[in-house]
């Protein structure tokens, strides 16, 4: 196949891949977790059916909630669909819009989305959603330094903080993969991802009424298509974070290096496959650890911070 895809099409395909494959990755993790616990579990495609059902339902808003409540899910979902344009989802070469923002820019857009969801949760007046929003913001402030130090590591390694540049550096030699700074930064990022995607040491992903809930408590008052957008958005956020870990830090292989339709198609299959492999790891972690008490989450964050800071230290001492 030597059909060359125009650059804008590849760019759109990045967003399509993330939005399309995200529910499947969530569904696979849920299924796998259930199997590991000896349950049959939902179908892998169950999240799609859930979304389809929610989109057909009627939307309700609490009494007194302003337009922000209904606008926030749409705006947050838009944010989640913007980030795939900035990170290497399908290609090894930077697409034109990929230079709109660096890793920090992507991080800002993700936090903007989470801020909007928190504002919508505050709009509801429901104490539970507000508690979730408040907790999410509190712990986000603790994990923020970790992300900053990971970005510092990346920029010390490559001299820039574009995700494409780090992926190219990692591909360049085996010495780059095994150097402690890279290993530590990847491990710290993985811990942040566990926090951001509401996985086990921090929070139970499934479950509806629990005192320890953080992220999952926020969309409590949303319903219908708006709730569907929030659910889809959090699945997309999860796949975006997995993509950053996989395609930038851990395994930036299997990406298309040309615009040929065949290689782009291969990359569209390879990314969900790699994300599912990471999902297997996440499911195993989910089943082998207990949830931390709420006030122990700082210890989890301090461990991630330790890894990220040590990464920067080793770099400063000449090529660690």
């Amino acid at each position: 196949m030597s059909v060359l895809l125009p650059v804008p099409v590849v760019q759109v395909l990045q967003v399509v891949t993330i939005a399309g494959a995200a529910p499947a990755v969530s569904g696979l993790i849920a299924r796998l977790e259930a199997r590991l616990q000896g349950r049959r579990g939902p179908r892998v495609l169950q999240p799609y059916y859930d979304l389809a059902k929610l989109f057909r339902k009627e939307a309700l808003a609490p009494d007194g909630a302003s337009w922000v409540f209904l606008a926030a899910p749409i705006a947050a979902f838009t944010c989640y669909l913007t980030v795939p344009l900035l990170i290497p989802v399908l290609t090894t070469y930077g697409l034109p819009l990929g230079y709109m923002g660096d890793i920090l820019g992507g991080g800002f857009i993700l936090s903007l989305a989470s801020f909007l969801v928190a504002v919508a949760a505050l709009e509801t007046g429901s104490p539970y959603a507000q508690l979730g929003a408040s907790r999410a913001k509190t712990f986000a402030a603790i994990t923020e330094p970790v992300i900053l130090f990971v970005v510092f590591t990346v920029s010390l390694l490559t001299g820039t903080d574009l995700p494409y540049a780090l992926a190219a550096t990692v591909r360049s030699s085996a010495g780059q993969i095994i150097r402690p700074a890279h290993v530590l930064a990847a491990a710290a990022l993985f811990m942040v991802i566990l926090y951001e995607t509401a996985r086990i040491p921090v929070e139970t992903h499934t479950g509806t009424n629990e005192f320890g809930m953080i992220e999952e408590a926020r969309p409590f008052e949303h319903s219908g298509p708006y709730f569907a957008l929030l659910r889809w958005g959090s699945a997309a956020k999860q796949l975006i974070l997995y993509t950053i870990l996989i395609n930038v830090f851990v395994a930036p292989w299997g990406l298309a290096s040309t615009q040929q339709a065949g290689s782009v198609l291969l990359a569209m299959i390879a990314l969900p496959a790699k994300a599912c492999l990471l999902g297997v790891v996440i499911a195993v972690i989910d089943n082998s650890f207990a949830k931390l008490r709420l006030f122990k989450i700082t210890e989890f964050a301090s461990a991630a911070f330790l890894l990220a800071v040590l990464g920067v230290f080793t770099l400063y001492l000449g090529g660690g």
Binding site: R179, P180, E299, L306, L310, Y316, L317
Partner: protein, 231 residues
Amino acid sequence: MLPDQTPSVYAGGANVIAVLILLLEFGMFRQALLRDQVRLYAGQSGLLAALAVLVGAVRDLPGLYVLAAVTAALKVVAIPLVLRRLLRGADPADVPATGADIAGSGGLGLASTVLIAIVVAAFGFFAAGALPISASAAPVTALSVSVSVVLVAFVLMIQRRDVASQAIGLFSLENGVSLAALVVAASLPLILEVALTFDLLLAVVVFGLLIRMHHGRTESLSTADMTSLRG
């Protein structure tokens, strides 16, 4: 700091092992049971032996294989065994009544301790990095890490108020010193290295007996009661 200078796979691997040793030192801050603390120490010593094998293989120093074997035999097998034998009955895992001895013995919260230890480790890193030492066998970063291991072990011994963690802190401090020796003087005469390791075994026996006596007298591993001995 040269961003575009990629270290070799060997240097990277050696550095990763050194950093893992440091991370296990940090892990000791949160262990709640004597048994786990000893296990962590054994793991740390195992990594040290692995590093000795790696340096020996790449730098062609066969003496290091012997050192690795001695390290593995003594620090991974013998010392944990002796410690467990001496402290049988003192581990909170065996005696539920004294369960709080090690678990809650930290003078500070875990997160604050880790932050303090990061600052101390940073001091060690940059202090050692400023020294004009050119190591021939292992990368210089590993030397800085070893200084950090020593300093963080000090933090562990200061912060934990139970004799067991303090003793393990001292032993792991020795691991840091061995790491430094491996980096700076890999071709040190074998007899010296082995003598040092056996020295450690003696220290372990002495400390084990001290811990045992302390536990026999106060029925606890905590050092809180010792303050009443002050004049």
